[in-house]
């Protein structure tokens, strides 16, 4: 009889309790769902980085050509204007959603000893997407 009472007094879990537990577990798991979202986001960033690097590289190729051009009247080192927002790469097709900035600085002896004479220009090509830098190329051009 005592055994029976012991068995009989055991309580199960009500439906309401189960639902509350499921809701609580769901709330606990919510922050982890961001992990799945960030994985999806990383694919988009990968694509942006890939295209941004190609865009920056294409721009750098144009500036190198400008520097080496035999047409020294309109191109060449002397005609590569110093500007924080240079238009040296306007000819390069702009992939959708990417913003490029070309910063050309001159006479930067502090950057490289070879520039001590001032015959040196520093070029920084930056490609951004949604305000985030996705590619950055820096190189020096000598006269």
């Amino acid at each position: 009889m005592r055994i029976y009472n012991t068995f009989h007094n055991q309580r199960g879990v009500s439906l309401v309790e189960i639902i509350i537990i499921v809701i609580v577990l769901g709330m606990v798991a919510m922050p982890y769902s961001n992990g799945f979202i960030s994985v999806s986001r990383s694919f988009i960033i990968n694509d942006e980085v890939l295209q941004s690097n190609a865009y920056a590289q294409s721009c750098a190729e144009h500036i190198l050509y400008f520097r080496r051009s035999p047409d020294t009247a309109t191109q060449g080192y002397a005609n590569l204007a110093i500007s924080a927002t240079s238009t040296a790469c306007v000819a390069v097709p702009n992939p959708a959603g990417l913003v490029i900035n070309v910063d050309i600085e001159g006479a930067l002896a502090s950057l490289d000893p070879a520039c001590a004479t001032g015959n040196c220009k520093s070029v920084t090509v930056t490609v951004a997407s949604s305000g985030q830098t996705r590619a950055n190329i820096e190189f020096l051009l000598m006269n």
């Binding site: 439906l15 994985v39 694919f43 990968n46 295209q51 190609a54 294409s58 050509y65 047409d71």
Partner: protein, 173 residues
């Protein structure tokens, strides 16, 4: 005996409704868990395909960049063929190098030693463009070509990556 019988008889079992409700609740829980497992599996597969596709398109891009820059200059650039799907040139070592896109395959051919190999057979689109010194005008003759551009799309299990890149031809004395 009588006492034992009474004891057994008073035990409560589960009614059919309770059983059905339990099965329903378990089913819902299993369905929710299954969604997470499914999402995890799909995420793994998508990650694998993404990394694979990215690696392949980067490999092609780097290969094209490095080799096309080596186009030899000899009064004009030594370019034998320049169409939308083919580019053949002589590099600075005197080797004839050719790229051909047919179907979904981009292949590269060297004459010395004679080798043809596939760079990729997963390209859904590939095109060469040739530009003059301003980088905008299309070069119609070999003498005008200063930039070589390629536009490609690589697909792997429904995931596509597109890339446009160009190089300036070097090798000029």
């Amino acid at each position: 005996m009588q006492r034992l019988h009474s004891h057994t008889n008073k035990q409560k079992g589960l009614s059919l409704i309770e059983l059905v409700v339990s099965i329903l609740i378990l089913s819902i829980i299993v369905m929710v868990v299954a969604q997470f497992v499914k999402a995890g599996t799909e995420s793994y597969r998508a990650t694998k395909d993404n990394i694979s596709a990215l690696s392949k398109i980067r490999f092609i891009d780097e290969r094209l960049s490095k080799e096309i820059r080596r186009t030899r200059f000899n009064a004009v650039y030594d370019i034998n063929v320049f169409t939308g799907t083919s580019y053949e040139f002589i590099d600075i070592d005197g080797v004839i190098v050719g790229y051909d896109f047919v179907g979904s395959t981009l292949s590269i051919t060297y004459d010395t030693p004679a080798i043809t190999s596939e760079l990729s057979n997963q390209l859904t689109a590939f095109n060469f463009n040739y530009y003059a010194s301003d980088g905008v005008s299309t070069a119609l003759a070999v003498a005008d070509i200063k930039f070589v551009e390629w536009v490609m799309t690589l697909s792997e299990n429904g995931i596509s990556y597109s890339l446009t890149n160009r190089v300036m031809l070097r090798g000029k004395p």
